[in-house]
Subunit: 305 residues, 2 copies
């Protein structure tokens, strides 16, 4: 019973096609196919099944792939263990993030990286992409969700919460509500909103405000880019829900943030990983840096408040 073959089966479960597995593991599709065939013969029962021109796992195959994850995890723990003995959190770690989290956390993390530890970052649009799926490609995936709602549950991924970021109401300077300490849902009736495109977590909060205030909110625009939304708010074209720690980066002092009371208004920023990758010492080190950075961001915003 060979671990490499089990790993191949697990990759197939994650990526869905022999060719994709071959690409990811730097092999030819033929090699992958052969190894899977050997695994099937060893198992004595079909693990895969042709479907169209592709290949899908049988129940037995899926089940075996799951336990292959356990093997990979314990193996990763072993390597992490001797990395610790060598005190050697070295190597490459890859990371994807949605833009605002990257802007908020990554510069501080990269500054504190110890020598020999390389962090390769990329960003993706959370609206267009299935973020959990990136765990096949990247070691760490920074994703966000509304509090409580975990869209990536049940995929067998390791989830590390990094921080919860409040979503405030962004107002232009001079707005009638700008001198208030906080605002409630009823204060917001009649305002014009700059919204975000569908799928963003902000969407749900706006619906909650509508329910609580008992009125329909008028939505003038829908943008995906936060800086664009802020520029509209500053220009007095409406108000918007903006994440507290990442807003105002472009034009500081021109945007006023007010906490929203009466409604749970925050997003959770988490790190997603495949369980085996989460065990790597280098990855764990980066995660610790991310958590430290997140804590510092939160503290620096709460102290002067």
């Amino acid at each position: 019973m060979d671990v490499q073959r089990l790993e191949l089966l697990r990759e197939l479960a994650d990526r869905g096609s022999v060719t994709a597995v071959a690409l990811a593991t730097h092999r030819t599709p033929s090699a992958v196919s052969q190894q899977l065939k050997v695994l099937e013969r060893e198992a004595g029962l079909p693990l895969t099944q042709r479907q169209g021109r592709g290949l899908v796992l049988t129940d037995a195959g899926r089940s075996l792939a799951r336990s292959a994850t356990d093997v990979a995890v314990s193996l990763a723990k072993a390597t992490a263990l001797w990395d610790e003995f060598r005190n050697n959190a070295t190597g490459d770690v890859s990371l994807v993030t949605f833009p605002t989290a990257g802007q908020m956390l990554l510069p501080g993390v990269i500054k504190n990286l110890q020598p020999g530890l390389v962090l390769n970052c990329a960003d993706e649009d959370p609206e267009l992409s299935d973020f959990p799926a990136f765990t096949a490609e990247y070691d760490i995936v920074l994703a966000h969700s509304m509090s409580g709602q975990l869209s990536w549950a049940g995929r067998g991924l390791t989830v590390v919460p990094l921080m919860t970021e409040p979503l405030d109401v962004g107002l232009p300077v001079g707005h009638p509500l700008a001198d208030r300490a906080w605002v409630g849902p009823r204060d917001l009736i009649g305002e014009t909103w700059i919204g975000v495109t569908d799928g963003y977590p902000f969407e749900r909060i706006l619906h909650a405000i509508e329910q609580e205030a008992g009125a329909h909110l008028s939505m003038s625009q829908r943008f995906a880019d936060l800086a664009l939304i802020e520029s509209f708010v500053i220009a007095g074209l409406g108000i918007a829900l903006v994440p507290r720690y990442t807003s105002g980066g472009g034009q500081p002092g021109r945007l006023v943030l007010k906490p929203l009371r009466g409604i749970e208004s925050e997003r959770q920023i988490v790190a997603l990983m495949r369980p085996d990758r989460a065990e790597r010492l280098a990855v764990r080190t980066v995660i610790n840096l991310l958590r430290a950075e997140a804590a510092q961001v939160q503290q620096s915003h709460s102290a002067p408040h």
Copy 2:
């Protein structure tokens, strides 16, 4: 990072010498030595260390060997999983036991073995041998100990309790105490005892009786074989502590058993296994049969009582 090499390291931790590992894994010592050398180079730090003409593990080596066990366990779980899919608890299982447990449990177990599942049994003298060490050689090791006292703790072995067997006072027919329902420590003052050789669990109970009764017990003989002890008791040469379920096999009706009150007088019979072997479906099946048989033995003795 190769699993086979890790496995070799773990075998070395268990068996203590390269030659023994080579013998156990059907390889030449040279092959083992080479693989360990590769593993060390991969790890980047010394895992073994010469001591005399032998070889011992360093701290790092021991630590890595421990995590190698986790790998082996998850791997065994995977194979057990697909064995379950095939509904195929087949293969060979090896077992050592001390004589009385084997006499009590094994015939019933072997009768109930499903076809294709082969159980190879052997017996060893618990006094002469280090039973936990047999887990390197056999899949299942049946051992006994006093209640609570687990001499094999901390070796990273899987322990499955099978039953607790009371130790009764064995008397010849016609003995003054033979019509009592039970006996206490003070009743036993002045009796002549047939003891067992050092190291047996019975030893400790006799000391406890001495303490409780406040008198010294006279010990006339010391034997290792239970049947021999019983024959002495029957002959009126003394009394002895005998396990309730396994005594009287040779000459039924000639030996009277009385429960001992006031002193915790029982031995625990357990199965010891290396954790990875414990995960094998065939092994788990045998363990279940052992537990069922043990329960039945206990029940059949308590019902007519």
